[in-house]
Symmetry: C2
């Protein structure tokens, strides 16, 4: 029996559906103090004075020069001078920047005290437009002589494209509880769910204490999507206060805070160009990116613009490429990653560029893509670039095959017929976008797999449970490797004591890298069990076989020991253990990987534009996605469905706008428009498993982001098609107002 | 620099002296319920009916036939029918037996509700006297033909001796908190400090859940002494209720409960005889023991009477020995171990027997001992007996040498002169008692030693911190093995997640077995650090040396890497790790041992008896104790001082008396008389390190019990000497009333 590939019910669901999950706010300690952050009401200013009730903590109370370090470095670009302080000391740089914290016995009192804090500012000039900001970093990626390629081209197509500022808005805002051992200052921290080990290490350095004094417990999390669980100012403040006051300290973010405090994302201005020969063959691509990073470089540093250009060529054969990035600081909330970071942006721009080019060249847009996609035989394909510290080597796939499959499927489902029918009388359009994703970032993940004397199996993984179903996926991997029922398997995530070498859940790496580590550890436990069973049964290992939770003698159905028996025989003091052999039936294994794996897909969308209001209605949506191998197809589909929902939000609705003074205009759900079920069409999913990843033993490619990656691209393409534009739609999100503008301009 | 042997300040003291220790009662969870136990008010009866408010839990609510298993088996004697149920169902067997539990939001309300529970009993006949009890087990230990030896003897001396029922009364009563994960039913348990892994496993079997669902956190404990931390009914009830109600449950024992609920100990009647030849050479010993075990066999089973007779021959050359035990059940609190279990009792009896014999034979009592002690050259000495599952092999020592040393020291300190002076006008007496202890029980202990990237060192030991200073001792062991300062070392005890193979702290095993495990793990980490350093420095291992927290090239003072550097180089993904090598600079090692080690000592005491009141005043007290090697002499002395204090209590004051109806007469500190500073003399300590234990790499022999072992013996001897008795004093404790009786009888 193999469990990989089965649509098993999620192991997480019994607790989550019965309200028994444990989220950050579910943790309390008697006597805990509640923290409230006092945030800057101005976008840029010098702090002249702070008038506050006694006990309010400001930067002056903190260790000096505390800045949150970058987690993901790009090349050797030094961002030290742009790092965010824990609390602003002299200058505030965005509305929402933490300036002080107050503590009280309950959250309401804390909020009341926070309102008594008066800060006098000398206001300073505000940079809201990206182009008006401060240049923080500038770099290029690419290969080949791009100028020459464009000079030699028969056709050059160029567009400008703005991607709007938006971000993930998980159902659950952030929450954090720090409990302290008064004797040692050791901390128990609940709620840093995403990269707990990394956050532990950052915190230990910032506090100047040994990392083993910090025990981080990742919790259930109501969605992560990249923005949650990074190291934020509050992640220092809460534990630091707990140690300082020798009391538990708790903090729960409210929605208004969340919308100005967590990483924003996406905002970029692109000038992108493609060079073609006569036949429509791509000769070169060029992209100039002005990246709005907000007020500081946070933990993601400048990885999003790097990813944007490194992934810009996508699945296409691009002989020459140049991407140039200027990272600008503005007086807005700092930015980080949001699901499909860089790829949502770059894919939207590239695919819109191809749509415009197809029209200019007079080639069908699908045909243009098919012509320029890398063929299956051209893979693996190395691009002379690196991102996330890894060389870009597209590992395996059949891009053209998947495009064809998706077109056949869309046709079968009646997309093409329907759009033709709608065009009689309505401004309907079809968008087709192709994308490349990346996943399985290393350098490593570590896992323990152990079997109890009861026969239960436990996995200590380095991932975290953000709602993605990692417990189920890893249980399926373990079940297959051990030959046991997933029901006896428990997966424990994100406990830095139980798994001190965990890399966390981000970058679609958990199943690929974490799953492979679990796979290796489970095989090692299996082998160890056979070794011990051989001693117990006094039969050579090669004469034993694993069957259904037991190890038996080949050809002798009655002669076997269960895994539980073997686990009992591994207790210390057992005669079956050699003197220096470790006790316990448990193995820890690492999976190390140098290169990422590259899933890919196609989005096909059918929209209807109301010419009077400019409102875009998404009528049908198809995602075809190659994942190498689907551990649990239902979960892959769930990932893709959720991604499309977020993509529709980012393409049509969600935007963090600011006024000229740098005041955020979207600080409630009245202003920040999330898609609801009413805005979402039925979604068709085609999960392909035609191109297993060669770089990991499971063949998996990661499925976390592909529902979102091309959503902006496909919807922009569909709107362009609906409106019959010759140029680009020019920006995202395509709000009704902007669509009305396009209709009015009529180009 | 060696740290073993240094008088380092205790690592525990900064937290304990500043009130920052964390004891069982210091743990709380929001919403916790408080448990209160309803205990039987009668000593023996059938439960006719229970009238209780709703929500009260009785045996009928529990899984059926829940009995607490024996932890320490003796031979293959089956005690199943005598095991204590978690709650009495049909019959109660002692005053204080748990019959029901109630829960409330605070402990006061719980106590009020408990008082509303009315239980109707049919009272049954009560066995209070040991001889009237039910025989639960009967067995013999010994070797040689004892009847013949006594027949052939020139002199036979026999005494009867009663040791009174008393027990440890630690400063902190028991406390327990169980928190439950509502999704999985997993438990966090705080407070089972002594044998946390064993208790976890018992609980997992009683609850029918996997052991990994239970995480026991041993806490600071205000004294253990054997009675605390065994598995009691409350240790099932609290976690079971937490799981049943899906809420945290807490229970804190009050003193009145403690005095009837925790294990009593010591109560035995001995008929002991010695056979001598003409010259006073011992030919044989015989001991018949009637052991009062109270109402049930608890976790210790019948190990105390086994230890009593197995250790009865003590340090003497006893060619023939027979010990016969009858274990009786009475309607009193069940019994278990109390510091120096069996040895306090047996030593008192044997040494009194020798004192009586010396007088009968007309030989000086010290001379009689010296004549019959095993000589150094006779060791190792095997006795054809086993106890605690191990063969009795006295490992090393110079018993006569230590006796002589002690006599010289007592003389030097003026003991002999002082008693002679006092005898003019007072009833003063001198007691001299020799004893054998045992320690270092296996079968194994496990320890982890790890070095952090900060250079801090952590030890995860399987012992528990009961106030004995184990953290300091293990830090000193680690410091020596690694060559680092003990200040950078943190010892974590009794966390079943961090150290799942711990044996706990009991039987004076922590330093001997646990310390040896730590020693091995620390040496392994050191070796691993050298291996990694060799790769880092590209120098062969044999050309490296460990110096002061670093590993350097021999003869090249400038060329070295610190342990912290090495730990950093052990992070996963490091180029210094081979593909399948474990990450982290950490090693786990087991120390396995088949035989115990046997420390030994001498107590010399000077008492003054008030002939009018019968009150015994202890004027001077000398303990000489061979410990093999003192890791921290100050801590050894502290152990001995505390032991003497408890010994004085047991010899003169403490007694759990019952009336004829089985009602306990000592349920407060008004009735149960503990020694105070006023009852304690100055105590002289002579710690000898002349006979390292050959069976462990540290040479240590365990120092936890020797201050108490011979206290009853020495004080009884001194009283006998003071009163000029020809026979035995007959019993302990020698309360003023009993001393007046002896004076009246004048024998």
């Amino acid at each position: 029996m193999t469990f990989i590939g089965e649509r098993l019910p999620r192991k997480e669901d019994p607790r989550l559906l019965r309200g028994l999950g444990r989220f950050g706010d579910d943790q309390d300690r008697p006597g805990q103090l509640w923290m409230r952050v006092v945030r800057s009401p101005v976008a840029h200013g010098r702090i002249v004075s702070i008038s506050a009730p006694p006990g309010v903590i400001t930067a002056a109370d903190l260790p000096s020069d505390l800045r949150i370090p970058v987690r993901l470095k790009v090349q050797d670009i030094d961002l030290d001078e742009f790092l965010q302080p824990v609390l602003a000391s002299q200058t505030v740089r965005y509305v929402g920047e933490p300036v002080a914290v107050v503590l009280a016995d309950d959250p309401y009192e804390a909020e009341d005290i926070a309102e008594q804090v008066e800060i006098e500012f000398d206001e300073l000039p505000v940079a809201v437009e990206t182009g008006d900001g401060q240049l923080a970093a500038e770099f290029e990626l690419g290969y080949g002589d791009v100028e020459q390629a464009f000079q030699n081209a028969d056709h050059v197509v160029e567009i400008e494209f703005d991607v709007g500022r938006h971000s993930a808005v998980p159902l659950e805002p952030r929450a954090l509880l720090a409990d302290v051992d008064p004797a040692t200052g050791a901390l128990q921290i609940f709620g840093m769910t995403k990269v707990p080990v990394f956050n532990r290490d950052v915190l230990s350095r910032m506090l100047g204490i040994d990392e083993n004094l910090i025990h981080v417990h990742a919790m259930d999390a109501g969605g992560g999507f990249g923005v949650r669980g990074e190291f934020y100012p509050e992640d220092f403040l809460v534990p630091w206060l707990a140690r300082k006051l020798c009391k538990p300290v708790k903090w729960v973010e409210d929605r208004a805070e969340h919308l100005v405090a967590v990483n924003h994302s996406r905002q970029q201005r692109h000038v992108a160009a493609a060079a073609f020969d006569k036949t429509g063959t791509l000769l070169a691509l060029r992209d100039e990116v002005l990246h709005d990073n907000g007020a500081y470089a946070r933990t993601h540093g400048i990885i999003v613009p790097e990813l944007t250009v490194a992934m810009f060529p996508g699945p296409y054969r691009v002989p020459v490429f140049n991407g140039r990035i200027r990272v600008m600081l503005t007086n807005k909330t700092p930015c980080g990653t949001y699901r499909a970071p860089g790829r949502f942006e770059g894919t939207a721009v590239r695919e819109q560029l191809l749509d415009v080019a197809a029209d200019r060249l007079g080639i069908d847009r699908v045909e243009l893509r098919r012509k320029n996609l890398l063929a299956a035989g051209e893979l693996p394909h190395t691009r002379e670039m690196s991102t996330l510290g890894t060389d870009v080597v597209l590992d395996s796939g059949d891009y053209i095959g998947l495009l064809d499959k998706a077109m056949v499927e869309a046709d079968r489902l009646g997309y093409f017929a329907e759009v033709e029918k709608l065009r009689a009388g309505r401004q309907a359009g079809l968008g087709v976008a192709m994308f490349l994703e990346k996943s399985g970032l290393g350098p490593q993940e570590t896992a323990d797999v152990m079997i109890s004397p009861s026969g239960d199996v436990r996995v200590h993984s380095g991932g975290t449970s953000l709602g993605q179903g990692i417990e189920t996926a890893l249980a399926q991997v373990t079940a297959d490797a051990l030959g046991v029922d997933p029901a006896v398997i428990t997966v424990i995530n994100g406990d830095t004591n139980l798994q001190p070498f965990g890399g966390g859940s981000w970058a679609s790496r958990s199943t690929v890298v974490g799953g492979s580590a679990v796979h290796r550890a489970a095989l090692a436990v299996r082998q160890r069990a056979v070794e011990i069973a051989s001693r117990m049964l006094e039969v050579a290992e090669e004469d034993l076989e694993v069957r259904n939770g037991a190890i038996g003698v080949k050809g002798a159905p009655g002669s076997s020991v269960t895994f539980a028996d073997v686990a009992k025989a591994c207790r210390p003091g057992s005669p079956h253990l050699l003197p220096d052999e470790p006790a316990g039936l448990t193995e820890r294994r690492r999976f190390e990987v140098e290169h990422m794996t590259y899933p890919y897909g196609v989005h096909i969308v059918l929209v209807d534009v109301d010419a009077a209001t400019g409102q875009v209605k998404v009528l049908r949506y198809l995602v075809a996605y190659e994942v190498g191998r689907a551990i649990n197809p239902t979960m892959v589909e769930g990932q893709l469905l959720g991604g499309v929902a977020q993509g529709v939000g980012g393409a049509l609705l969600e935007e963090f706008r600011y006024d000229d003074a740098g005041q955020p205009q979207a600080v409630t759900f009245m202003d920040y428009l999330m898609p609801t079920a009413a805005e979402l069409p039925p979604i068709d999913i085609l999960v392909a498993q035609d191109a297993p990843a060669p770089g990991n033993p499971l063949g998996v490619k990661g499925a976390g982001e592909g529902g979102l990656t091309a959503a902006g691209a496909a919807i922009a393409g569909a709107i362009r098609d609906a409106l019959g534009l010759t140029g680009s739609v020019g920006c995202l999100p395509m709000t009704a107002e902007r669509v009305r503008g396009l209709i009015k301009e009529g180009k």
